[in-house]
C-alpha cells in the first residue's frame, strides 16, 4: 500500500490514468475538503463584498471582521430543527438536496487543477461535466415538487425550463471551444505553424491544446473566442440560478422558490450545492477559454527567470492577504473588549503570512536547489494557484452581478436564451469552423 502510494509520486499523470485508486481517493478527499472550505470562504466573502457594495459592513460580530460567521452559520443550520412539511413526499423531499449536491460535487472529478492535479482525465471530460452538471436540475425539480406547495412548484418549473434552455447555448459555446482544439487556423489567424490535428474532449487535453497553440482560446480567432466565452459566461450564471437570472428563487415573487419549504441542514445542502456548482462552471470557463492552470504569458515571457518571477506570485498573494489582516489588526479599537478579536485577527495574519512564506520558500527552493521533489511541489503550487485565481475572478463577478443588476422576468429570460444567445452561439460555432478551415 505504501509502495503504491509512493510509486505514484514520481509519475506525471493523474491518479485515474495511473490507475492508482488510493491516490484517487486522496485527491477526491482533498477536492471535497477544498471545495467545502472554498464554499464557506465564498459565503463570507460574498456577504462582505456585497455589504461593501451596499455601504454597509456585513458580518462584524462573530470573530474579527466576521471571519467566524460562516462557522456560526453552519452550526446554527446544523442544530436547527429539520422541518419536513406533513403533506410533502418525504422520500423525494429528503433525497432532492442530496441529488443537487452529488451532481455539483461529482463534476470535480475531471476538473484539471494541473496537468496531473485532477482525479481523472476522462477522454469525454467536458461532456461528462456538462452532463453531470445538468443533473442538478433534477434535484431542484424534485425539491419543488416534493414540497407540495405552490411557490416551490412554480420555482421548480421555472428552474427546469431555464436550465434546459441555457444548456443549449452553453453547449454550443463549449463546442466552438472544442473545435478550436483541433483547428490551428491559417491565414490571418495563423498564429502557429502547427497543422490541424485531432481535437479532444478531455479537460487536460483542452488546456494542453492551448499550451501548444500558444494562445488562450479567449483570444483565438478574435473575436470568435471572445464571443463564445461571453455566451458561456452568461449561460453559466443562468445555469447556477444566480442574479440576474435567479428567478427560481426570486424572493420578491416566489418567496424562496424551490427551497421555500426547506430549512436547517437540508437548506444548507442546497446552498452548498449552489456554490459548488458556481465554482464548477467557473472552472469549465477557465479550462476552456482562460488557459486552465497556465500562468499568464507562458510563451511571451518565457524562460526560467520569468518562471521564477511568476512562481513567486502564490507566496506574495498570501503575504499580501496577511498584510491586509495585519492592517486590520492595527486598526482594531484599542479597547479591552476587542482584545480577543485583535489577538484572533493577529493570529490569522500570522497564519496567512506563514503560508505565504512557505510558498515563497518552495518557489525559491525549486529555483535554486533544483531537487526534483521541490520542483514538483512548486509546479503543483503554481498550477493550482493560477487555476484558483482565475476561478476567484469569476466568483467576484458573480457577486458583482448580484449587487448591480435587477432580475429578469421569466419571458425575457427565455427570450434572451432562445432568441439571442442560441443564434449567436450557433453563428459563432459555424464561423469558428469556417475560419478554422478556410481563413
Amino acid at each position: 500500500m505504501l509502495n503504491s502510494l509512493m510509486s505514484y509520486l514520481g509519475s506525471n499523470v493523474t491518479p485515474g490514468e495511473a490507475n492508482n485508486q488510493l491516490w484517487a481517493l486522496i485527491y477526491v478527499l482533498i477536492i471535497f475538503a477544498g471545495v467545502s472550505v472554498a464554499v464557506i470562504a465564498m459565503n463570507w466573502l460574498e456577504r462582505k463584498a456585497l455589504a461593501h457594495f451596499q455601504v454597509r459592513l456585513g458580518p462584524m460580530r462573530v470573530g474579527p471582521h466576521g471571519l467566524l460567521q460562516p462557522i456560526a452559520d453552519a452550526v446554527k443550520l446544523l442544530l436547527k430543527e429539520d422541518i419536513i412539511p406533513s403533506e410533502s413526499d418525504k422520500f423525494v423531499f429528503w433525497i432532492a438536496p442530496l441529488i443537487g449536491l452529488l451532481a455539483a460535487f461529482t463534476v470535480y472529478t475531471v476538473v484539471p487543477f494541473g496537468p496531473s492535479q485532477a482525479v481523472s482525465d476522462m477522454n469525454i471530460g467536458i461532456l461528462f461535466m456538462l452532463g453531470v452538471s445538468s443533473l442538478a436540475v433534477l434535484g431542484i425539480v424534485m425539491a419543488g415538487w416534493a414540497s407540495n406547495s405552490h411557490y416551490p412548484l412554480i420555482g421548480a418549473l421555472r428552474s427546469s425550463a431555464q436550465m434546459v434552455s441555457y444548456e443549449v447555448a452553453m453547449g454550443m459555446a463549449v463546442v466552438s471551444a472544442i473545435l478550436m482544439t483541433s483547428l490551428h487556423g491559417a491565414g490571418i489567424y495563423g498564429a502557429s505553424n502547427l497543422s490541424d490535428g485531432t481535437g479532444t474532449l478531455s479537460m487536460i487535453g483542452i488546456v494542453q491544446a492551448q499550451q501548444e497553440q500558444q494562445v488562450w482560446f479567449l483570444f483565438k480567432f478574435f473575436p470568435l473566442g471572445l464571443v463564445a466565452f461571453v455566451i458561456f459566461a452568461i449561460a453559466m450564471v443562468a445555469e447556477t440560478n444566480r442574479a440576474p437570472f435567479d428567478l427560481p428563487e426570486a424572493e420578491s415573487e416566489l418567496t424562496a422558490g424551490f427551497h421555500t419549504e426547506y430549512s436547517g441542514l437540508r437548506w444548507s445542502l442546497f446552498m452548498l450545492a449552489e456554490y459548488a456548482a458556481m465554482i464548477a462552471v467557473s472552472s469549465i470557463a477557465v479550462t476552456l477559454w482562460l488557459g486552465g492552470w497556465m500562468r499568464p504569458f507562458p510563451h511571451w515571457l518565457s524562460g526560467s527567470a520569468w518562471d521564477f518571477i511568476f512562481s513567486l506570485f502564490p507566496g506574495l498573494t498570501f503575504l499580501g492577504l496577511g498584510a491586509i489582516a495585519v492592517r486590520g489588526t492595527l486598526r482594531m479599537p484599542k479597547h479591552e473588549y476587542f482584545r480577543v478579536q485583535t489577538i484572533g485577527l493577529g493570529a490569522f495574519a500570522l497564519v496567512l503570512a506563514g503560508i505565504g512564506l512557505l510558498l515563497l520558500a518552495i518557489a525559491i527552493g525549486a529555483h535554486s536547489s533544483g531537487r526534483e521533489a521541490i520542483a514538483r511541489a512548486a509546479d503543483a503550487m503554481n498550477n493550482i494557484y493560477w487555476f484558483v485565481t482565475k476561478i476567484a475572478v469569476f466568483m467576484y463577478l458573480f457577486i458583482w452581478y448580484r449587487a448591480t443588476w435587477p432580475r429578469y422576468r421569466f419571458d425575457q429570460l427565455m427570450k434572451v436564451g432562445w432568441k439571442v444567445m442560441l443564434p449567436i452561439s450557433l453563428g459563432v460555432l459555424i464561423l469558428t469552423a469556417i475560419v478554422g478551415v478556410i481563413a
Binding site: 451596499q54 435567479d246 426570486a250 418567496t255 443588476w405 435587477p406 429578469y408 422576468r409 419571458d411
Partner: protein, 391 residues
C-alpha cells in the same frame, strides 16, 4: 397523497372579480390556477393580500383583500378631540407622516377659519417636501428590491437617514413625527436648521444622480419596467388615481399648483409628467419629483420669513357646525380629509381619502395580461403603504 392541495375551489368563493373573459367552450386547463399572494409575501409591502387568477404565469385577474392592518383610525377620531386625533393621522401613511399631519391640520384650520402664519407655512413646506423625498426614496429602494436590484435600497436608506435626522432634531421623532399643530407649528426651528437643510440639499442632489446611474439606463431595468403596468390617462382619471401614477400617464395634475395650500404658490417648480403611463415613466416622474422637491426646499429655506409660528387658536377647539374637505398633494397622491363637525370638541365624522387606497384600485387594470413578476413590479410602482390603505 402528496398532491398539492388545490385550494382553488376555496379561493374561488372569495374571488368576486369574475368579469373575466370565459372562453365559449370551457375546456379544462391544467394551467389555470388561483393563488394567494400575501398577506405574508415579501413583495406585497406589508399585509396586502392579492388573489391572483393565473393562466400559467399570465394574470387573468386580481382581487385585493385588504384590512389586515385596519385599526379603525376614522372611528377613533370620533372619540378624540381635534387636538388629540392629530398624532393618529401619522400612523396612516407612516413613511410620509408629515404630509398626513399637514393635511389634517390644514383641514381643521379650514374648519376653524384660521390660517397659519407665514413662517409656520414655510417650515411646513420644508418638512413636507423633505418628507416627500424620504417617501420617494423608500419607494425607490423597495421597488428596486422587488425587481431584484438590491443595492439601491441601501443607498436610499443611507440618504433617507439624513432626512430623518433633521426630523429628529426638529421634533424628536423620526417616523411618526407629529410635527405640526392645528394653527401652525409647535416648535421653532432649532439652531442651524437652515444650514443643515441646505447642506442636505447639496448632499442629496448627486445621490439622486447616483440612483439614476444604477437604474435609468440599466438594460434589465428598462426591460422590466417599460410597457409594464400601462394605464392611460383617461383610465387613471376614471379610477380616481392621483399623484405620480396619474402624472406618469400624462395628466398634469398636482394639487400644489391646482389648489395651492401652505403658500405653495410662492414657489417655482414644475410638474413632471410622463407619456406612456408605464412603470418606467412612473419611476422617472418620481425621480424628477425628488429634484423638484429639492428646488422647493431651497427656495423655502432661502426665503423663510421671521415671525410667529402659531396662529391664534382657542385652547379648546370647538368648530362651528359644518363640514369641509381639504386635500393636499401627499407623496403618493391626493390625501383628503373630510371633516364633519357637530359643534362639539370631537369631530362627528372624519373621512380620509387615502391616495394609496384609491391607487390600489388601478392594480387590476394594470396587471391584466401581464405576468406574475409584473404584479410585483406594479405593486411596487403604485407605492402603496398598507397602513394608509387599511387605516
Amino acid at each position: 397523497m402528496n398532491e398539492i392541495k388545490d385550494d382553488s375551489a376555496a379561493l374561488k368563493n372569495e374571488f368576486t372579480n369574475l368579469d373575466l373573459e370565459t372562453p365559449e367552450k370551457p375546456y379544462l386547463d391544467s394551467n389555470e390556477l388561483i393563488i394567494n399572494m400575501g398577506p405574508q409575501h415579501p413583495a406585497t409591502h406589508g399585509v396586502l393580500r392579492v388573489i391572483l387568477k393565473l393562466d400559467g404565469e399570465k394574470v387573468l385577474g386580481t382581487e385585493c383583500v385588504i384590512g389586515y392592518l385596519h385599526r379603525g383610525v376614522e372611528k377613533i377620531a370620533e372619540n378624540r378631540t381635534y387636538t388629540m386625533f392629530n398624532p393618529y393621522v401619522d400612523r396612516m401613511d407612516y413613511v410620509a407622516a408629515v404630509s398626513n399631519g399637514l393635511g389634517y391640520c390644514l383641514a381643521i384650520e379650514k374648519l376653524l377659519n384660521v390660517e397659519a402664519p407665514a413662517r409656520a407655512n414655510y417650515i411646513r413646506v420644508i418638512l413636507t417636501e423633505l418628507n416627500r423625498i424620504a417617501s420617494h426614496q423608500l419607494w425607490l429602494g423597495t421597488h428596486a428590491l422587488d425587481i431584484g436590484a438590491m443595492t439601491p435600497l441601501f443607498y436610499t436608506f443611507r440618504d433617507r437617514e439624513e432626512i430623518l435626522k433633521i426630523f429628529e432634531k426638529y421634533c424628536g421623532a423620526r417616523l411618526t413625527t407629529h410635527a405640526f399643530r392645528i394653527g401652525g407649528c409647535q416648535y421653532e426651528t432649532y439652531a442651524g436648521f437652515e444650514k443643515e437643510v441646505k447642506n442636505f440639499v447639496q448632499f442629496v442632489r448627486p445621490k439622486i444622480d447616483e440612483y439614476e446611474e444604477l437604474l435609468t439606463t440599466n438594460r434589465i431595468w428598462l426591460e422590466r419596467t417599460k410597457n409594464v403596468g400601462v394605464i392611460s390617462g383617461a383610465d387613471a382619471i376614471a379610477l380616481g388615481v392621483t399623484g405620480p401614477v396619474l402624472r406618469a400617464s400624462g395628466v398634469k395634475w398636482d394639487l400644489r399648483k391646482a389648489q395651492p395650500y401652505s403658500r405653495y404658490q410662492n414657489f417655482e417648480f414644475e410638474i413632471p409628467t410622463g407619456e406612456n403611463g408605464d412603470t418606467y415613466d412612473r419611476y422617472l416622474v418620481r425621480m424628477a419629483e425628488m429634484r423638484q422637491s429639492l428646488r422647493i426646499i431651497e427656495q423655502a429655506v432661502n426665503a423663510i420669513p421671521e415671525g410667529p409660528i402659531m396662529a391664534k387658536v382657542p385652547k379648546v377647539i370647538k368648530p362651528a357646525v359644518g363640514e369641509i374637505y381639504q386635500s393636499i398633494e401627499a407623496p403618493k397622491g391626493e390625501l383628503g380629509y373630510f371633516v364633519v363637525s357637530d359643534g362639539s370638541t370631537q369631530p362627528y365624522r372624519v373621512r380620509v381619502r387615502p391616495p394609496s387606497f384609491v391607487n390600489l384600485q388601478a392594480l387590476d387594470v394594470m396587471v391584466r395580461g401581464m405576468l406574475v413578476a409584473d404584479v410585483v413590479a406594479v405593486i411596487g410602482t403604485l407605492d402603496i403603504v398598507l397602513g394608509e390603505v387599511d387605516r
